[in-house]
């Protein structure tokens, strides 16, 4: 991390409203941190239905080792996948869950 990051809830709200799209410079910077976390432990989406449904999994960075499934939740909407991963990374980077009013 190249600069102090603060858990600015406004950025979480901005992301939730628009996971994919034009983002403010501050959210872009936060997403660069989230998206460049080390491969080991990094979250991804595993397609479980080709009509499109996904579960959240986590890489381990080791060839040959199976993935870890993070939860039993099945997502039918890609934006929901992005938001779920964002929340997990928020906790990973800032050490605390997003507050209920954001979630």
């Amino acid at each position: 991390m190249c600069w102090p990051l603060h858990p600015d809830l406004a950025l979480a709200a901005e992301f939730r409203a628009c996971p994919l799209g034009h983002h403010s410079p501050a959210l872009q910077r936060l997403l660069r941190v989230f998206r460049t976390l080390p491969v080991a432990g990094k979250h991804a989406a595993l397609r479980v239905d080709d009509r499109r449904a996904w579960v959240i999994v986590r890489f381990n960075g080791v060839k040959g080792q199976p993935l870890e499934r993070v939860s039993d939740d099945v997502f039918n909407d890609w934006n929901a996948v992005e938001w779920a991963v964002f929340r997990l990374r928020w906790r990973q980077v800032f050490g605390a869950d997003l507050p209920e009013e954001i979630v």
Binding site: R32, V39, D50, R51, R52, P66, E82, V85
Partner: protein, 700 residues
């Protein structure tokens, strides 16, 4: 999770051909059922028509026993010759350039009686009667002269300034007639690094001297010694790489081949699984041209495996032909999402999506990787083969040029447009003759990898009045070469520039297979804009955008494209990112060769910051990268006439194909595509406008 893997010995076939299908099953799979299907849409996405298959009668249909077939991973050179046997005393000398130190054994040379190896970088020799080792590791990425000598006084090992000897006397060179370089004869102990100048001696007499500086495009390595004990390369190590004497005075191995007398071996090279046929298809004369597949199913499993084969007609049945981007399918073969660089998500601009086959690939490194990765020693993977299971050349693969070409096949079916098929490999082998009888060539959604013979064939097609519709993005970007002895193997040198995951090492920018200078077509002097009117400009995988109709669309020359298309916003929906212009997009650019009379009939802009200009358009690093600030991040839809009565229409976007299913294949992108195809099949010649008139139109 899949329980079997498979491939065919052909990627395309004609009536009368035999296609062999090779299957390896996980333990516990007692049997599987095979049949033949024809395929169109290759994706079950809920917003499309769903996977489209049609059962086709084939004699091979039936149940087959499951069996496991092994993979020998790693390249090597094998010498089998009677002249190897019967020498009690010998010396082997060669130059060694290790590129990876590992605890795993790496064999440099071996017979059935001894192995000269690297373990943690230290050279040793093991025989049935003992082991001899040097103390210091061989330096990484440096050449070291190595010699192994066996004579009446014992065994001696020498490397650079190090030397060790032992009094024990092994049995000699070989009981059998086989010598291996870069692996053990039984495999599984491959070497990472370059070898040069292997020579075999009996006292002062040279028994063999293998010449790595000649026949670069061959899998045979000539022995200049008296017995001509030629070597045979296994799994296609990289030839035409710099050798011990390379000093930068030559960059082309053909100019100073003596500077390129080395071969780079990798323990993770794979050119041919070499599996046996499990069943075969004798292609009958009656089937229409199209994409077919052997479909494999296991009772009690939800897995369905497809082994695709592009079926060409004996003679053209349609006047249009779809050029399946088989070179690109091979370049991306077994592209691995898992355990990639932590920057992968930055390229995507969204969370990576895996499909179950990615999990299977993670468990099966022996199936090899794509041209988008590096070997375990960090060198770029420059050779890809289809003689192995390719898990993303299958329906429902994610971010797959193959699966996305199904949108085009399904569109042609929905619009009832007759169209034959052929592959890049056919076009490379046969040249423009492969296009005889066709008025129109349609490309796939991402024909990124192109050989010179393919390119020349398309130019010849246009020169004789042919028409070309480029339905893709980032097409004709990298030059590749097909192996001349082994069909289905391509080579890529990622030289100089371009959006690329690795760089070719200095001095090795020329293909071994053909001797051609490698890298981007733009750097070779053939920007795609010259052929297509557009060329790669930006990439971003989050959201796609629609095109806006431009004034040039009102030009009477382009009127045919917009018949029945009143929309001024084109492609505002689509399965890839929600629009028709996305993922990788191309621009018109006269400075790069777009014909001056080309009409830019529509343009897509307004992408997010994740759509970034390609690096060859960045003179130096700067912040003007993303679409909001860089006007080069756009997709241009272009039409132009050729001088021979033909014409070219280019959409300039990967996502275009995935927009075709919108409104049951009757949205504006589908109507424009259909309009282009129907006019391009009309034999009425296109007339090249005067340059002045064209400029006047463009200035509107």
């Amino acid at each position: 999770m899949r329980q079997l893997a498979s491939y065919a010995d052909r990627i395309s076939a004609k009536p009368g051909d035999r296609v062999g299908f090779k299957v390896s099953c996980d333990p516990g799979v007692a049997a599987y059922r095979a049949d033949l299907v024809r395929l169109w849409c290759l994706d079950d996405h809920r917003d499309g028509p769903g996977l489209q298959t049609e059962a086709v009668v084939a004699a091979f249909a039936g149940d087959y026993p499951g069996r496991s077939q092994p993979v020998r991973l790693g390249s090597a050179m094998e010498v089998r010759h009677p002249g190897l046997a019967g020498h009690s005393w010998f010396s082997l000398t060669l130059s060694v350039f290790p590129t990876l130190h590992s605890a795993a054994v790496q064999v440099i040379a071996a017979t059935d009686l001894w192995q000269m190896r690297l373990v943690d970088g230290r050279l040793d020799c093991v025989t049935a009667v003992g082991r001899l080792a040097l103390e210091d590791p061989l330096p990484l990425n440096r050449w070291t002269e190595v010699a192994l000598t066996l004579d009446s006084e014992g065994l001696m090992l020498r490397a650079g300034g190090q030397q060790a000897s032992a009094l024990f006397v092994p049995d000699g060179l070989s009981e059998d007639d086989v010598l291996f370089l870069a692996d053990a004869p039984e495999g599984g102990a491959g070497f990472f690094g370059k070898l040069a100048r292997p020579r075999l001696w009996s006292g002062a007499e040279c028994l063999a001297t293998w010449d790595f500086s000649s026949r670069m495009g061959s899998i045979t390595v000539p022995d200049r010694g008296p017995q001509a004990m030629h070597g045979r390369l296994i799994n296609m190590p990289l030839r035409a790489v710099t050798g011990p004497d390379w000093d930068g005075s030559a960059q082309d191995w053909r100019v100073r081949p003596e500077h390129y007398d080395a071969i780079h071996f990798h323990a993770d090279d794979l050119a041919d699984c070499g599996w046996q046929d499990d069943f075969a298809w004798e292609v009958p004369p009656s089937l229409p041209s199209g994409l077919y597949a052997a479909r494999l199913r296991i009772e009690g499993s939800d897995l369905t495996e497809y082994i695709p084969v592009w079926l060409r007609p004996a003679r053209p049945e349609a006047r249009a032909v779809f050029l399946a981007s088989s070179a690109t399918y091979m370049a991306y073969a077994n592209y691995r999402v898992m355990n990639r660089s932590n920057l992968y998500e930055m390229y995507l601009g969204q969370v990576p999506e895996l499909v179950p086959d990615d999990l299977y690939l993670n468990l099966h490194p022996e199936l090899g990787d794509s041209l988008y990765t590096t070997h375990a020693d960090g060198s770029g993977m420059a050779i890809s083969s289809r003689h192995r299971p390719i898990l993303n050349m299958r329906p429902n693969a994610a971010l797959s040029a193959f699966a996305d070409d199904g949108w085009i096949l399904a569109f042609l079916r929905a619009q009832q447009i007759g169209c034959d098929v052929l592959t890049d490999e056919d076009l490379d082998r046969e040249g423009v003759a492969a296009l005889d009888g066709y008025d129109l060539v349609l490309t796939g959604n991402h024909p990124e990898y192109v050989s010179t013979r393919m390119w020349d064939a398309l130019v010849a097609h246009l020169d004789r009045g042919g028409r070309l519709i480029y339905l893709g993005g980032n097409g004709f970007y990298w030059r590749v070469a097909f192996h001349t002895e082994m069909p289905g193997v391509i080579e890529l040198r990622r030289a100089e520039d371009g959006s690329r995951p690795w760089d070719m090492e200095p001095g090795a920018y020329y293909h071994a297979f053909t001797g051609e200078y490698g890298g981007m077509w733009r750097r070779v002097g053939r920007p795609p804009q010259r052929l297509l009117g557009v060329g790669f400009s930006a990439s971003g995988f989050d959201l796609s955008r629609p095109y806006d109709r431009l004034p040039a669309a009102d030009d009477p020359r382009a009127a045919f494209l917009f018949e029945g298309v009143p929309e001024t916003v084109i492609g505002a929906a689509g399965i890839a990112g929600g629009g028709a212009a996305g993922q990788e997009i191309d621009r018109h650019d006269e400075a790069l060769g777009s014909p001056p009379h080309a009409l830019i009939v529509a343009r897509a802009t307004g992408h997010t910051e994740e759509m970034m200009v390609t690096k060859e358009d960045m003179p130096a690093a700067n912040y003007m990268i993303g679409a909001p600030v860089n006007p080069l991040c756009r997709a241009d839809m272009v039409f132009f006439e050729t001088g021979a009565g033909g014409a070219v229409f280019s959409t300039g976007s990967i996502a275009w194909a995935a927009s075709l299913p919108v409104a049951a294949f009757d949205g504006p992108t589908a109507r424009i595509t259909a309009n282009a195809i129907r006019r391009f099949l009309d034999p009425t010649p296109f007339v090249l406008p005067g340059a002045g008139g064209a400029r006047k139109v463009a200035q509107k």
